[in-house]
Symmetry: C2
Subunit: 434 residues, 2 copies
């Protein structure tokens, strides 16, 4: 008989909660970069973030228990950055730059805790909202999504035998490794894990990151997950998200300011960051409009992250723009990050090889692809298009138009106003899977 | 930081040997049934068993270390049946019969230890032989094969990283489970694990057996491995092997006795066993000859185990024989056990459904199919056709003709004598893979 660790067994018995979020660094790196900017430039803005399930057919409130959800959210609220984490943030080099986080920002972050939430059920969904200072509520985005997604997985797996679980993870591992072997064929590929928010679970994301590290070597440039980057000595990857232009747009006092908002936010960003952190996210109010009216200085930014057009179409549009403005795309960078999987990464890579620098942020299909892995198909294991978006700013509705009308968020009247100002050039409706 | 079990860690450090064979019951059940017969009816026969690698291109002595091999063989020699194991053998019901093992046999078995071995290298292979009392040396067959096969796997996996190993086993699990899902579709399938001798490793066989138990439920009728049967509360499965007619044939004092040997051994068997244990293995000196000259009482045996013809051809031959002798094959049983895999099991099952009772003994392709599982193809993970056969009996060479001349074993002159007596009817050369 093998010896049994009695203490461990008893500890396991008495578990009340297996926390999904165990550290405030279990979030995406871009949240910290944005947070520093928000904290410095927009300290007084009040905002609301709301959970939105774009996959309406999945009735989340019927899949996961409200008490469990509250327990996990409450546990996340109990966290603070540890001493070790603070030292790492202050002492580490990010994107080749040391001390990217300023001492007074870190001093504030040291005492940071996630603010309150509001939760109720609404037609089979959870209405989950975070209202308060923008800097504080913004930090809920990733943990809220990770919690809801992992609770869905846990609920789907509940009742499966130990053996069925073993096979499930064996298949998922085999499946991911086959993707790794495809990607391995691409010389000089640069790829990062962007899968925190939609991950099947924290432990599974950890396995996936280790798999990429082991299988892709130098081609795996890092993880957007700060905790995993710290734990596995990887680069923390990420720049900025739609919430910046959305909030700055919502703060606009008139149509002219609104029109200028997508560029103003880049000016804000430049005050804090440089180099490879200068990556434009152009699609918040439509990429075509953005490019057409972009001031000359935008051309000096390092690259673009097209996020709602198919990657080849999105990339071509940006390359054409660089050409039209007299720049050589080979000096520039495109970060692909929308709905990627191994096959689209390969085809995109091959399409643009030699024409521009590329990197890939691989999300949901990296950390939550269990299609065909369960002994019986399990709906609850299928990733859904769940987002946590800023919805109100100082009492005004926030809007995102996107290049894909399926991804539009905001109040109807306000959307119409934005469409009047930004136009609809280049916008095409496409199904959103994840 | 998770707590570390220091005692376990230190114990692991100080391991000198991870034994492959940890119990004398880690063998095939038929060895015990045969052993009782040998002990009772042939106590004075001296025999030699020899390891034969039919896959000559694989140079085993270059793959595995002689010291390691000796350590494992020596460890197996140190084993005796434990008190618990003796109680289980005495008290359990096998094939519906209690007390199948007689008290005086068990009293002898209680002190059984594996006898000495002789080992030397010969042209890239190991010449491994066991000489002594038939009853004693016969028991080396399965542990010797399991040890050599597992040492090959260990050697192939040496130097692979923890992650590559994780992926390897994940793929092997996914692969086996896909086979289980194929087999699940067959109503009233009866299938057993026959994979001890060729297994990748003991732990892997255990996983495979648990997989069949979980996935096939009632269709999984048990394991030939006595230790696993005991451990997992399964039926121990098996009847008899070629060594019985081979030894009895080698003991024949003249051609008439030789001609009668294949039937005499069945008479011996009947003295000890009945019911579903009355399964004829007809191919030792050619199935066609065996059937043609079989006395009437052989028709009363429950079934046949064709072991060197392709299953459909072998089954058809036996069914035709039952018909020709006026028996309804639907009352009879065919045990398929040669080189099966999920696809051949399915096709054989479908071919004979409703025409006879069937059961399947699934061996090498159950417990040692790692094709396509390693990150890079590894020759050392490919199962080979390794056998441990009786080669000499009281100083005379032992012979097996088989239905497939590729499987013939024995001394050239003696083989020719056997061919003169038994003829070559129905023998067809076919490649032996496992």
């Amino acid at each position: 008989m093998p010896p049994i660790d009695i203490a461990k067994r008893v500890y396991d018995h008495s578990w009340k909660l297996d926390p999904i979020i165990r550290s405030l660094l279990d979030t995406d790196f871009y949240k910290l970069l944005m947070l520093q900017m928000i904290w410095e430039l927009y300290p007084d803005v009040q905002a609301t973030f709301s959970l939105v399930n774009r996959t309406r057919r999945v009735r989340i409130a019927e899949e996961i228990d409200e008490k469990e959800l509250r327990d996990q959210l409450d546990h996340a609220r109990s966290l603070r950055l540890s001493h070790k984490e603070m030292i790492w943030l202050a002492g580490n080099t990010f994107y080749g730059r040391s001390q990217i986080f300023k001492p007074d920002f870190l001093a504030w972050l040291k005492d940071f805790r996630l603010p309150e939430y509001e939760l109720h059920r609404e037609d089979g969904q959870y209405a989950l909202e975070f209202s308060g200072s923008w800097a504080e509520v913004s930090m809920w985005e990733i943990p809220a999504l990770a919690i809801v997604n992992e609770l869905r997985s846990r609920s789907a797996l509940r009742g499966m035998g130990r053996f069925a679980l073993d096979v499930l993870y064996a298949r998922a591992k085999a499946k991911l490794w086959n993707k790794v072997e495809m990607l391995k064929q691409l010389p000089d590929l640069r790829i990062a894990d962007f899968g925190t928010r939609r991950r099947h679970s924290h432990l599974w994301q950890r396995w996936c990151v280790e798999a990429l590290k082991e299988g892709l070597g130098e081609s795996f440039v890092g993880s957007s997950n700060v905790l995993l980057a710290m734990g596995s000595d990887l680069e923390a990857i990420g720049t900025n998200a739609h919430e910046l232009p959305m909030v700055v747009a919502a703060l606009a006092r008139n149509d002219d300011e609104l029109r200028e908002a997508p560029y103003r936010v880049l000016k804000d960003w430049e005050k804090l960051y440089s180099g490879n952190l200068l990556v434009v996210l152009p699609d918040t109010f439509g990429t075509t409009t953005f490019l057409r009216h972009a001031p000359e200085w935008v051309e000096d930014w390092t690259g673009f992250r097209p996020d709602s057009l198919p990657p080849i179409e999105g990339g071509e549009q940006i390359i054409a723009w660089w050409h039209s403005r007299g720049h050589d795309p080979r000096d520039k960078l495109i970060v692909f990050s929308d709905a990627l999987d191994a096959d689209t990464i390969v085809s995109t890579y091959k399409h643009f090889a030699g024409r521009t620098r590329m990197s890939f942020g691989w999300g949901t299909n990296l950390t939550n692809d269990f299609e065909g892995c369960a002994p019986e198909p399990l709906d609850g294991l299928q990733a859904i298009s769940l987002v946590c978006k800023v919805t109100r700013v100082n009492g005004h509705p926030a809007v995102k138009l996107s290049d894909n009308p399926e991804k539009v968020t905001g109040d109807k009247t306000e959307i119409d106003r934005y469409l009047d100002i930004f136009g609809t050039a280049g916008r095409v409706r496409r199904a959103v899977l994840v």
